[in-house]
Each structure stands twice: as C-alpha cells, then as structure tokens.
Amino acid sequence: MVKILVAEDDRLMLSAIEFRLKKEGYQVITCPDGKSAIANIPVHLPDIVITDLMLPYALGFEIISHIKLIREKNIRILVLSAMGQEKTVEEAFELGADDYMTKPFNFSELSIRIKKLTKQGA
C-alpha cells in the first residue's frame, strides 16, 4: 500500500485530504506542523510527502531539505501551497520537490498527480 505523509497546518484541510486519500486506498500519516513532519518522515519512510510551505515550527522548504538527506528511500515530494510566485516554485523544485500544486486545488487533480508520482517512484 502506498504510504503518504501530509503536512498541513489547517486542521480541516488536513482531515479533508486525509479522508480523500484514505478513500482512494492510500495509507495516510498526518502532521499538523513542520517539526512533526520532519520527525515522522524518517520513522515512517513514506512513498510520497505532500507538504504546505508555510507551516509552524519548520517551513515546507526545510521538510524538502530533510527528505533529500534520507538515503534509504526515494521519497517523492508534492508541494501544495497558496504561494504561486515563480521564485517560490523555482526554489521548491531546486531543493528537490517533484511536483507543485497551488491552492485553490481540487481533489481530482491531486489524485492524478499522486498517481503520477507513484508511477515515477515505482
């Protein structure tokens, strides 16, 4: 089963994403802030990490940098953020993000992108 870790500080958003992904048959780990995401990634070694950029305690950029230090697994990273400025997107890709979605987003698109990332990782 594909394991997805979601880092998002909005409680409702987090549970909405969790609900949808579980419905689609993924195993989901939720983290309400950057610090817990950084702590949980090496423990669970998810296949995909979906992260916001503006998170309490540690930003999404820090999460991406931490993931890139993990050698055991090729974890795919999808950034899901309201920040759509060219520079921010560029920075996220430079750090190692595999995909970038801006808010507002719809679940169908998120689902397609996750499937694509899953295939890339396989």
Partner: protein, 362 residues
C-alpha cells in the same frame, strides 16, 4: 495660608471627594468587568460557531459516493440556524477561509453550504449598506462565494467615490468576467491607485489572456491612471497593435504616463523605437532621461553609439552609468569602448568600468 486652606478643605469636601473617587473607581471596575465578560462571551460564541461551521464543512467536504464522486450533502434545519449577525460573520469568515483552498466540487459544496445557511442574504444586506466598509465587505463575500447574479449590481460600483468600495467592485468584476470585466475602464473617472493596479494585474495573470478590444481607447483616456494601467497591460500582454497610441503617450502632460510609455515602448519595440526614444530624451527631465537610457537595451544598436557617447559624457553619474551599460551590451566592442574611456579618464570612468564588468560576470 493655613487658615485659608482649612476653610477650603473642610471635612465635608474631603468626604465628598472620597466618595467621588470611590465611585469613579467602582465605575471603571464595573466597565472593565463588563468588557471582559463581553470579550469572553464573544470568544466562546465564536468558538461554538466555528465548531458548528467546521462540522458542517466536514459534511460538505467529506460527503462522497462509493465511486469517489462528490455528493451534495443534506443538512438538517437545526444545523443551519445561526442567530446573531456576529455569528453569521464568523461563519462567513470561516467559509471564505476554507473556500480559498479548494476549487472544483469541494468548493461548490462550500458555496452550497453558504447558501443553505442563508448567508447570501446577509452578504447582500451588507452590500446594500450605506457604510463603505460594510459595503466593501459585502462585495468581497459575494464574489468569494461566486454569486454571479450579483455581478451586475457590483459592476455599478467600479467607479464608486469610495476607493475601497470601487477596489472591491473592480476585483469582483474581473473575478466574474475575466478580461471582459476590464470594460469598467471605459468610463472610469476615479483614480486607480498603484496598489490596486498591482492587485488587478496579479489577478489577471492567473486568467487566460482575453480580448482587450478597448485598449486603444483606454490609452486615450482623460483619466491618467487609466492610461498608466492600459500601458502596463500593453506591456505585459505584448499589444503591438497599440504601438502608435503608446508613442502618442510620450507627449502626455503627466510625467508618470510618459514614464510608463517609455517602459512599454521598449517592450513592444520595432525598428523605429530607438529613434523615437532618443528624440524623446531631449524633451524630458532627469527622471525620464534616466528611464530612457535604462530601457534602451532591447532597441539600441551601433547606430546609436554617438548618442550614447554623448550621454556617457553627461555630468550626471547615473546617466553615465546607464549609457556605459547600454554601450557595453549593445554596441560592437562596447566593453573596449568603456575600458578605453576608463584609461583616459579614470575618474569617474574607472569605477563605472569595474561596475559594468561585474554586471557582465553576474
């Protein structure tokens, strides 16, 4: 002296003053307690409403059919009762906050919840308010919740005398109609602030570029800020068809318009642009002279070297630097020309040469 004081400060006066200050103290104490109580009540009411809205939102976002498609959730009447206006406002704020994150079916369900809670009526009441801040808020809520039927009424306020109301109305109009909504520029008599221009351009950047049929008219508008905004549109969306109108703006009486026209012209340049900008140089004051020099890069060639060498000898160091930069980038052996100049006159051309060299390396 003592006797005089004793006559004024009698025990009765002291008693009266004591009672007065005690009363004053008790009054402020009571006010403080009432204020704290109201704040506490508001906080807990807010929490309760947020909790209620979150439960409804969960229903809106989590209702799904087995095949994965979203289902329109059914709410019961009890759930949908909101009492005071303060509660309604909290509910709207929460719905808008979540709405900003979603598009597609989830967004539709949030909007349906807004309608089911009868909050549209509340937003409309605010839109019809005589107070500008309430009106502006009402417009914001209506467009954030995609209430297209309000677009026509909102459009009428795109030229409102109050800056905040018209800013919201303009944003709403573009939100509803896209590029088509820019038609409010046709009749605009009030100014568009720089900040609003940035906001509108940012909003447009997220949309598919559409028709700007009236751009030539906007460039001839009597409203200088409309002209500046139209010039920015011509620049960003590369509107070569209004080249002549942009050139005409170089003769505008407003320096800001001419400034923007120079910037735009450099972006939609053709073979004649360099000549036009160079002749404009001599009509302008310092700010626009520098602006011209700084925007010559896309159009300057070896043919303009004489002009650029003249500017290089200007008294002003910023003009010297601008000209040196253009010579180095646009003229054959430009860098050598600047280096020779620096050897002949180390002060001030040596630091200019070094600066240009560092720019080239970067």
């Amino acid at each position: 002296m003592d006797n005089a004081l004793k006559k004024i400060i009698t025990p009765e006066v002291l008693y009266a003053l004591s009672y007065f200050f005690l009363g004053l103290f008790l009054f402020f104490l009571a006010i403080t307690f009432i204020n704290l109580f109201v704040q506490k009540w508001r906080y807990f009411t807010g929490l309760a409403v947020k909790e209620k809205i979150n439960t409804l939102l969960q229903k809106a976002l989590f209702t799904m059919q087995e095949d994965g498609t979203t289902l329109y959730p059914v709410y019961n009447k009890q759930e949908l009762t909101l009492g005071t206006n303060a509660e309604k406002q909290i509910a709207i704020d929460e719905l808008i906050r979540i709405r900003k994150n979603f598009s597609g079916e989830s967004a539709e369900n949030i909007i349906n919840l807004y309608l089911a809670l009868n909050l549209k009526e509340y937003s409309k009441r605010k839109f019809n308010s005589g107070f500008w801040h309430i009106k502006a808020r009402g417009i914001y809520e209506l467009y954030m919740m995609e209430q297209q039927d309000a677009a026509r009424e909102i459009y009428k306020h795109t030229n409102n005398n109050n800056e905040f109301v018209r800013n919201e109305a303009q944003t709403a109009t573009i939100h509803f109609l896209g590029f088509e909504g820019l038609r409010f520029l046709d009749t605009m008599s009030t100014p568009i602030s720089n900040w609003q221009q940035i906001k509108l351009l940012e909003q447009l950047s997220a949309l598919e570029p559409g028709s700007m049929g009236n751009l030539a008219n906007w460039l001839n508008s009597g409203n200088d800020t409309v002209v500046v905004f139209a010039l920015k549109l011509a620049d960003i969306y590369q509107q070569f068809n209004v080249y002549n109108e942009v050139v005409a703006c170089l003769n505008h009486k407003n320096e800001q318009v001419r400034w923007q026209a120079i910037v735009t012209l450099a972006k939609i340049a053709d073979d004649t642009t360099a000549g036009i900008l160079l002749s404009q140089f001599f009509k302008e004051r310092f700010t626009n002279k520098l602006n011209i020099v700084n925007h010559l890069e896309p159009v300057a060639t070896d043919n303009n070297l004489d002009f650029l060498l003249n500017v290089l000898n200007d008294d002003n160091h910023l003009l010297k630097l601008g000209a040196a930069n253009i010579i180095s980038k646009c003229c054959t052996d430009g860098m050598d020309i600047i280096r020779q100049k620096a050897l002949l006159e180390p002060n001030p051309y040596e630091p200019i040469y070094r600066h240009i060299k560092s720019l080239h390396k970067a």
